[in-house]
C-alpha cells in the first residue's frame, strides 16, 4: 500500500496538521511503510470473529446525574492562549 503525496496532503488536512511542502515526500514514504506493516493483517482469517473494542468487554458504567465538579473557571482558563471576559478567544469565524 503506498500513499501518494496528494493523499498525504489530504490526510494531513483531515487531521488538521500543517506539513511543510518539503516534508511531504518523507511522510508519504513513512506512512506507506506503516501501511505495508498494517497490511500483514490480510493474512488473518477473521470471518465470524466478534470485534474486540475493549480488554474487559465491559459495558459503559452509568452514574447518577449529579454535579461533582467544582467551579474552577479562573484556574482552567489560566492555560488558554487567549481569553477575554471569561471567554476563549479564537480568530474570527464569521464575517
Amino acid at each position: 500500500m503506498s500513499l501518494t503525496p496528494e493523499e498525504v496532503k489530504k490526510i494531513a488536512f483531515l487531521a488538521r496538521l500543517a506539513i511543510k511542502e518539503e516534508s511531504i515526500e518523507q511522510y508519504s514514504e513513512d506512512l506507506s511503510g506503516i501501511l505495508d506493516l498494517v497490511d500483514q493483517m490480510d493474512a488473518a482469517n477473521v470471518e465470524d470473529i466478534e470485534p474486540m473494542a475493549h480488554p474487559q468487554d465491559a459495558m459503559q458504567r452509568l452514574r447518577k446525574d449529579e454535579v461533582t465538579e467544582i467551579n474552577q473557571r479562573e484556574k482552567l482558563m489560566g492555560n488558554a492562549p487567549a481569553t477575554e471576559n471569561g471567554l476563549f478567544l479564537v480568530p474570527k469565524v464569521l464575517d
Binding site: L17, Y27, G33, M41, A53, P55, P91
Partner: protein
C-alpha cells in the same frame, strides 16, 4: 557508615524502617535524592521538571505524620512521576512542545493517592512525546541516556522514569505502558517494571494516547518494592469509566509463596528468528533457575503473535488521532503566531507543536478511520485483537504464567533507529500483544548480554498481579541481577 549509605541501595521496606525509627527524616531522604538528581541528571536527562520545593514541603508533612503515628509504610519515601500524569500547579508536558506551557489544574488519581500518603514527588520524568516511542528519542526535551551506557537509549516511552530508578536518582517511579512502555525500558535499564491489568490503575488525569490500551504502573528496584507501590496506586476510581471495581489484594503477603508445581508457559513464537542469541541465553538461564525453584515448564503457542504489531498500528494510531484532536490551540497548549482564521490556527498550532512520530501516528489513525477504510483497517484490527486475546486465554488454561524475553535485543545506540520507524516498531514484538489483550506484564532483570541488561518478561492472566510479583520475588531471592547498578551511580557521593 555514613547516613548517606542508609538511604541508597535500600528497599522501600528498609527506607520505611529508617524513617519510622528516626535514623533519618523524610526531609533528609528527599534532599539526598534531590542532590543526586542535581549531580547526575545533566548527563542523563531523566527529568523534565524537578519539583524540589514541593517535594520538601511534602517531606515535612510526612515527618509530622511519622511523628504522630499516622504514617503508612510508604509515607515519606520520595518518588518520581512520568510527565504524563497531571500534577496540580506543576507543568505536565507529556514530552511535547504542545504542552510545554501547560500547568495541570488538577492531580491525576495516581498522583493524588500517593500524595495523600505523603510520598514526596521529586519531579516529572522525561518521555517520548505523548508516550509514542520505544527509545525516548521522541521527546521535545531531548533524548534520555541509558545509565549503563550513555551512548545508548534507555527504551521508551517511559525512559526517564526507568533511567531515574536505574541510576538511583529516585527510589521508585511511575510509568505508563500502551505497547511496552514500562516493560521495555525496565528491561533495557536492568530494573523491575510492572504493567498491571487494564483497569487496575486509574487513568484519570493520565494524558491519553490510546485509551483502550494505556495503563499506569511501576518502575522499581525489586518485585517487593513494586508490590508496595502498585498496591497504593491501584483501585477502583469512579472518575475513570474503564476502572474495574474489584478488590486490590495485599500483594506483599503472597510474595513468599512457594513456586513448587508452578506451571510456566514458554510460547515458541517468542523464541524464533529475530531474537538475539545472547538475549535468548539469558532467558534460558532464568528458566533453568525457575526449574530449580520447583516450576514445571510447558511449551505453548500464541499463534497470532505475528499479527499483534500490525493490529496495534491501526488501533493505537486510530485512538490517538481521536484523543489528540483535543489539542486545538483554543483551551490549553500551544497556539501558533498570528493565525489568520480558525483552520489556519488548528493546522499551524498542531503542525508546529507535534513532533514527527506523533504526526505519523495521527495521520495513520486518521487514514484508518477515514470514510471507506474503516472495515479494512479498524474493524479488522479489532477482530485480530479478539484472536490474540483468545490465544492467551487458551494458554492460561494450561499454565499459571507465561515467560519470555521483553525485547529482542539489548539497548541500541541513540540515533541507530531514529530514521527507521518500522524497525523501531518491530522491537515491541514481545510486549504489544498483552496490551491488546489487557493483561498484566512484568520485566525482571535476568542478566546481561554484551554488557547491557536483559529483562525476563512474566505475563499473567487478568488480575493476577499478586502471583506475578510472587514469581518475580522468588527469583530475586536466589539471584542478584536486580541488585546490579551501573558503577558510576552505585555509591553515594560521600564514598567517592
Amino acid at each position: 557508615m555514613s547516613m548517606d549509605n542508609q538511604m541508597i541501595n535500600k528497599s522501600l521496606a528498609e527506607l520505611s524502617v529508617g524513617l519510622q525509627s528516626g535514623k533519618f527524616s523524610s526531609v533528609e531522604l528527599t534532599q539526598f535524592y534531590l542532590d543526586r538528581i542535581a549531580s547526575h541528571d545533566s548527563e542523563l536527562n531523566a527529568f523534565i521538571t524537578v519539583t524540589a520545593e514541593q517535594a520538601l514541603a511534602t517531606a515535612k508533612t510526612a515527618d509530622e505524620k511519622i511523628a504522630s503515628g499516622s504514617a503508612t509504610g510508604l509515607t515519606g519515601i520520595p518518588l518520581a512521576h512520568k510527565d504524563i500524569f497531571c500534577t496540580d500547579g506543576v507543568r505536565t508536558s507529556a514530552g511535547s512542545k504542545m504542552l510545554d506551557n501547560f500547568i495541570a489544574p488538577y492531580n491525576a488519581t495516581v498522583v493524588e493517592k500517593l500524595k495523600s500518603i505523603s510520598m514526596p514527588m521529586l519531579g516529572k520524568t522525561n518521555m517520548d512525546e505523548f508516550a509514542m516511542g520505544s527509545s525516548n528519542e521522541n521527546s521535545y526535551y531531548g533524548a534520555v541516556k541509558n545509565p549503563w551506557d550513555l551512548d545508548r537509549v534507555p527504551g521508551g516511552s517511559s525512559g526517564g522514569s526507568a533511567a531515574a530508578v536505574a541510576a538511583k536518582l529516585a527510589p521508585i517511579a511511575t510509568g505508563t505502558d500502551t505497547g511496552g512502555s514500562i516493560r521495555q525500558p525496565a528491561s533495557l535499564t536492568g530494573i523491575t517494571g510492572i504493567k498491571p491489568t487494564y483497569g487496575r490503575v486509574s487513568r484519570y488525569g493520565m494524558i491519553a494516547y490510546a485509551s483502550s490500551l494505556d495503563q499506569g504502573g511501576v518502575f522499581a528496584s525489586s518485585a517487593a518494592d513494586s508490590a508496595l507501590l502498585l498496591e497504593a496506586m491501584s483501585g477502583f476510581d469512579a472518575k475513570d469509566s474503564t476502572s474495574v471495581d474489584i478488590p486490590v489484594p495485599d500483594f506483599s503477603t503472597t510474595l513468599n509463596d512457594s513456586l513448587q508445581g508452578l506451571k510456566i508457559g514458554l510460547p515458541k513464537e517468542y523464541f524464533e528468528e529475530g531474537l538475539n542469541s545472547e538475549v535468548a541465553k539469558v532467558i534460558e538461564a532464568a528458566v533453568e533457575e525457575y526449574k530449580k525453584l520447583g516450576a514445571e515448564i510447558v511449551e505453548v503457542s500464541l499463534p497470532n503473535t505475528h499479527l499483534a504489531i500490525p493490529a496495534y498500528y491501526v488501533i493505537a494510531p486510530a485512538e490517538a488521532s481521536s484523543n489528540l484532536s483535543r489539542f486545538d490551540g483554543v483551551r490549553y497548549g500551544y497556539r501558533c503566531e498570528d493565525p489568520v482564521d480558525l483552520t489556519d490556527m488548528y493546522m499551524r498550532s498542531r503542525g508546529d507543536a507535534f513532533g514527527r512520530e506523533v504526526k505519523r501516528r495521527i495521520m495513520t489513525g486518521t487514514y484508518a478511520l477515514s470514510a471507506g477504510y474503516y472495515d479494512a483497517y479498524y474493524l479488522k484490527a479489532q477482530k485480530i485483537r479478539r484472536l490474540i486475546s483468545e490465544d492467551f486465554q487458551k494458554v492460561f488454561e494450561q499454565v499459571d504464567v507465561i515467560m519470555g524475553p521483553v525485547a529482542p535485543e539489548t539497548a541500541f545506540k541513540i540515533g541507530e533507529k531514529s530514521d527507521d520507524p518500522i524497525s523501531m516498531y518491530l522491537s515491541d514484538i514481545y510486549t504489544i500483544a498483552l496490551n491488546l489483550a489487557g493483561l498484566p506484564g512484568m520485566s525482571v532483570p535476568a542478566g546481561f548480554a554484551n554488557n547491557m541488561p536483559v529483562g525476563l518478561q512474566i505475563i499473567g492472566n487478568a488480575f493476577t498481579e499478586g502471583k506475578m510479583l510472587n514469581v518475580a520475588h522468588q527469583y530475586q531471592q536466589v539471584t542478584d541481577w536486580h541488585k546490579q547498578t551501573p558503577s558510576k551511580y552505585a555509591v553515594s557521593e560521600g564514598e567517592k
